[in-house]
Point group: C2
Chain length 237, copies 2
């Protein structure tokens, strides 16, 4: 019994999935112990058998299986009400839902056009062809074509980050004086970039860069707990 | 004694300012009575003398003058703690700050390129030249040039609204089951469009359109309390 975290694992044990990161931080915030069940893209049948769908992460808590990060965060908040809150009440939870939708619709799409050509190098070699074929089908072009004109693509992503820079210039975390789930949602996007590409996507100096450093350092430097982007991998991948 | 709301007033008593609307809704939410002191762009010296700056709205509460809508909302929340909360706690307040920054950096700029050519018609005739000259200086082009290629401009604004559509498909208000200040921030942008232009900027049917209707109907149909865009004004302005 306990909590098992089914998490996508990449090349040499890397953790490049943004969705895993937001749940890892949520589990640390809630001070919940867990076992990790590593999965690869190739393990889709294991995930489907457990959760009825193919996306990770999923959690299995005493036999109760939950998928989709927003639902996992809500499950943890409701099942562990005596632990530190991820949302700070009903209004905080509702607006965090907006942040979740904002990150997925406004941050992730432009970031794909910055990092996707670099990304296969952080996946298990056996998962790279699957990643490339599914993403290129979704994009309607090669990963390299999607990342052409890199300065323009980076500028588009950084323009989408403008409200973060403004907000974090006035308060240390998205959630105020201390981090909570809305911070973990947003940080997971930057962690995806940081571990999935050698490119620096955050302008410095900036309030956003300072916040990211604080986020990496939380929970005994959780953000640095796994390997970073492999040196020289652009040649190797 | 009491609360005086210094609010920009336009043609025939219209209220086209988005900043006024978010404070009007906040005052209604807090059930606070107030007097209105209407101001025009031409009344800049009155505002500067009271608040040390030239932007509206401002409030004067028993001699305490506050400007900048975010600071006004926080003032109301802290000075009227026994009234319904605008933020639902510290985390809700902090994330609402992000919404404020998101609306001003991601919604307002593209919306200007949709409605600005229409906007002078809702201002007092004596304020139109001031509005045009200051906004054209900021834009570096005429209002009409800023609004050229209207389909493309509307598409850019609607793309920025994508996270609202997603979020409002899962919950009735940005703040959850009931509206609060983050809703008023976002609604004020749509009210600006609705009262400042004859164009419909919200796709229908949509969760966003339904939410806007609910927001208009709040507080005894507050959103319809003043005149709409003047019929035929495109010819008149």
């Amino acid at each position: 019994m306990g909590l098992t975290f089914y998490e996508r694992v990449g090349f040499e044990g890397r953790r490049p999935s943004p969705f895993s990161w937001r749940i890892r931080y949520a589990l640390a915030h809630k001070e919940i112990d867990f076992d990790v069940h590593p999965v690869r893209f190739a393990d889709v049948e294991t995930i489907r058998r457990l959760s009825g769908q193919h996306l990770t992460p999923i959690i299995d808590h005493d036999g109760q299986v939950t998928h989709e990060t927003w639902d996992i965060a809500n499950y943890l908040e409701d099942r562990f009400p005596d632990r530190p809150s991820l949302f700070g009440g009903a209004t905080g939870r509702a607006i965090a839902r907006f942040i979740n939708d904002w990150a997925s619709s406004q941050l992730s799409p432009p970031l794909r056009h910055v990092i996707y050509a670099d990304f296969p190098a952080v996946l298990d070699p056996g998962d790279r062809a699957y990643f490339r074929s599914t993403r290129e089908r979704d994009l309607g072009m090669s990963l390299e074509a999607a990342c052409a004109d890199p300065e323009k693509k980076l500028a588009a992503f950084q323009q989408a980050c403008a409200p973060l820079e403004r907000c974090l210039s006035t308060q240390p975390y998205v959630c105020g004086g201390a981090p909570a789930y809305a911070d973990y949602i947003v940080f997971s996007i930057f962690q995806w970039a940081r571990l999935g590409s050698p490119k620096e996507v955050v302008a410095k100096p900036s309030a956003l860069a300072d916040w990211r450093s604080r986020m990496i350092a939380l929970y005994d430097h959780l953000g640095d707990h796994f390997l970073g982007y492999p040196a020289g991998s652009l040649e190797r991948s």
